[in-house]
């Protein structure tokens, strides 16, 4: 809805909406989001980040190829999983070097945003 907020005596017009705990705001020519419960900016990497020893689905989509097997060594930046969403392929890469601890997805599986797909045991833990 359209809102007006007075800041330092000046009225500012904006659009705002709460959707599933996220506040969406359009103001001054751009859209930004905030976490409505904490009042902080929405986590930019929602779903994409997590801890770096995990490869997490950055979007909802289908797993089309798993390029590593459990126990295999990986280098940082190595492609490990291929996903497809909206008719495009996205290759997910390992953030760190190490060995594949576990694989929690299967080829053909439709995965949700933020799902941990692969866990990597860091090289330093070997």
């Amino acid at each position: 809805m359209e809102i007006k907020v007075r800041v330092d005596g000046v009225d500012h017009k904006a659009h705002a909406q709460l959707i599933k705990g996220t506040l969406w705001v359009h103001h001054n020519g751009r859209v930004f989001t905030m976490d409505a419960s904490t009042g902080r900016k929405s986590r930019k990497k929602a779903g994409a980040g997590g801890s770096s020893d995990q490869v997490v689905a950055p979007m909802p989509g289908k797993v089309t190829k798993i390029l590593v097997s459990a126990g295999a060594s990986v280098e940082a930046g190595q492609a490990v999983v291929v996903m497809e969403a909206m008719k495009m392929e996205y290759t997910l890469k390992a953030d760190i070097a190490g060995s594949i601890d576990s694989i929690s997805c299967a080829v053909g599986e439709q995965v949700a945003l933020g799902k941990a797909l692969i866990k990597i045991k860091p090289a330093s833990d070997k």
């Binding site: 007075r6 900016k41 289908k62 969403a85 008719k87």
Partner: protein, 492 residues
């Protein structure tokens, strides 16, 4: 040929809406052939009749020839408009439609085979003496063989889906080392998007511009062109911003390319709307491919020429449209189109799906919006990320750019992230403003994810005030009691 009273639409999203609008203008009813996933969409609500042709995966619905033909027959349609993408360039589909006693709104199956098949088209172009980009278009699809052919051509090489379009199944191979992975990936994407894994290879021209000509064959087979569009701004080989006419062509080049476009379309006995795509480098042009269909970017041509290409397609299929030789078409002003994708520009463009919240496209002169979703609709991961197109027209290119930036800044899409901030950055870039961009423009200047601007203290205060109001807590606390809007705020 009898006039159509009902047309089936074998497509979805904004193109389905565009076709419905054209049909409404002609007093024709529509039957939307849709998947189970597309019930909450604008086209579904707008169509006269809707028929579900299968589940969400495209192979089981939008790419299923029999389901589409059966749906059109069950819906009582006399013709099928395929839109763009999906089955629009599938000769077997055009043939199946005709065999079922329906009219295919587009070129004949024969024309699609000779021009739409990228490999065959190049053979035809060779005969016509048109310049071609060196490449491999053979039948041998073995990956090892394709790698050898790529090495013969010399890297960088582009691998493309033979039945493709829209950048799907297209990969740039820079060296032998990455050839296997990229060719296999292109084959998988081609299979997924077009139902065929067939690919071909082409030398990558690294300083080229993408220029295309809108051709139109009337009911008698007479082909003319409707001038050019520049589509050099591409990411992952997919167009993002298109404009008409191109800022890169001299009158002489425009004339020669237009003649070449009409020559190949005439050779392919073309009827209806099609596009001849060229690469332009160092003032030399090369035929890239012919798209035997309507294109996403057709509105910019419509805006500068004052034509309705979809209406013309329908009238041509009815045998009623003939080019008027007395009517001299001259492009007027400049038009730009931006594709709005549901993706997060601050995370490298990963798809953003979910329920659409508030959506607002600002009205005003010289603005046009083509969209397939309203507030409350769901953006699913099953289909293309394009949710809307914004088209502007103005008297000069620089004014059109300024208008587009303003329109994008004023557009509101909540619920999914969009590439709007990315588009604004591109439109503001000096190379785009000067019109000197090539197809490498994006990878040169916008390869990295956009940096998300920090929220200012004003942004935070606006957000705090908004949250308070949305939760029914009235206005924000900064001296609001003096505001003439105080009671109004509470009432919103």
């Amino acid at each position: 040929m009898a006039k159509f009273s009902r047309i089936a639409i074998a497509n979805r999203g904004e193109v389905a809406v565009r076709i419905i609008k054209a049909c409404e203008e002609l007093g024709i009813e529509t039957v939307l052939l849709h998947s189970e996933a597309d019930i909450n969409t604008r086209a579904y609500r707008m169509a006269t009749k809707t028929i579900c042709i299968g589940p969400a995966p495209t192979a089981e619905s939008y790419l299923n020839i029999k389901a589409n033909v059966d749906g059109a027959l069950a819906g009582g349609a006399q013709a099928i408009h395929p839109g763009f993408g999906f089955l629009s360039e599938n000769a077997d589909f055009a043939e199946a439609v005709t065999k079922a006693g329906l009219t295919f709104i587009g070129p004949s199956a024969e024309s699609i085979r000779s021009l739409g098949d990228k490999v065959h088209c190049k053979e035809l172009a060779k005969k016509a003496g048109l310049p071609l980009v060196p490449g491999y278009q053979g039948e041998n699809q073995d990956v090892a063989h394709l790698i050898l052919e790529a090495e013969k051509i010399g890297f960088p090489v582009i691998v493309k889906a033979a039945a493709g379009g829209g950048g799907r199944g297209m990969k740039l191979i820079k060296s032998s080392a990455e050839a296997k992975e990229l060719i296999e990936s292109a084959q998988r994407e081609a299979q997924s998007a077009f139902g065929s894994p067939k690919v071909f290879l082409e030398k990558y021209l690294d300083r080229a511009k993408h220029i295309e000509f809108q051709v139109f064959g009337d009911s008698t087979g007479n082909v003319i062109h409707f001038f050019d569009r520049e589509c050099s701004v591409q990411r992952r080989h997919q167009k993002i911003i298109e404009e008409a006419t191109s800022p890169s062509l001299s009158d002489d080049l425009r004339r020669r390319m237009g003649e070449a476009a009409c020559a190949i379309a005439t050779l392919g006995k073309y009827k209806g709307a099609g596009t001849v795509e060229f690469l332009l480098q160092d003032n030399e042009f090369y035929l890239l491919e012919v798209n035997t269909r309507l294109q996403v970017e057709h509105p910019v041509t419509e805006e500068v020429l004052g034509v309705d290409l979809v209406k013309m397609q329908i009238l041509t299929a009815q045998g009623e449209f003939v080019h008027d030789p007395k009517q001299v078409r001259v492009p007027r002003g400049h038009s730009i189109e931006c594709r709005i994708y549901a993706e997060n520009p601050f995370m490298g463009g990963v798809p953003s799906t979910g329920l659409l919240g508030h959506v607002e496209w600002p009205e005003g002169p010289g603005r046009r919006y083509e969209y397939g979703f309203d507030a409350g609709d769901t953006i699913t991961p099953y289909y293309d990320p394009m949710i809307a197109k914004v088209i502007v027209w103005d008297e000069t290119r620089s004014r059109a750019i300024q208008k587009m930036i303003r329109v994008l800044q004023d557009s509101v899409v909540f619920g999914v992230h969009t590439n709007i901030p990315y588009l604004i950055e591109i439109l503001s870039h000096k190379e785009f403003v000067m019109g000197t961009m090539t197809t490498r423009f994006i990878e040169t200047y916008f390869a990295e994810a956009l940096k998300e601007p920090e929220l200012t203290s004003l942004d935070k205060k606006i957000a705090e005030g908004a949250l308070l109001q949305l939760r029914g807590g009235g206005m924000q606390n900064q001296g609001a009691s003096n505001s003439p809007w105080a009671s109004y705020w509470r009432g919103i």
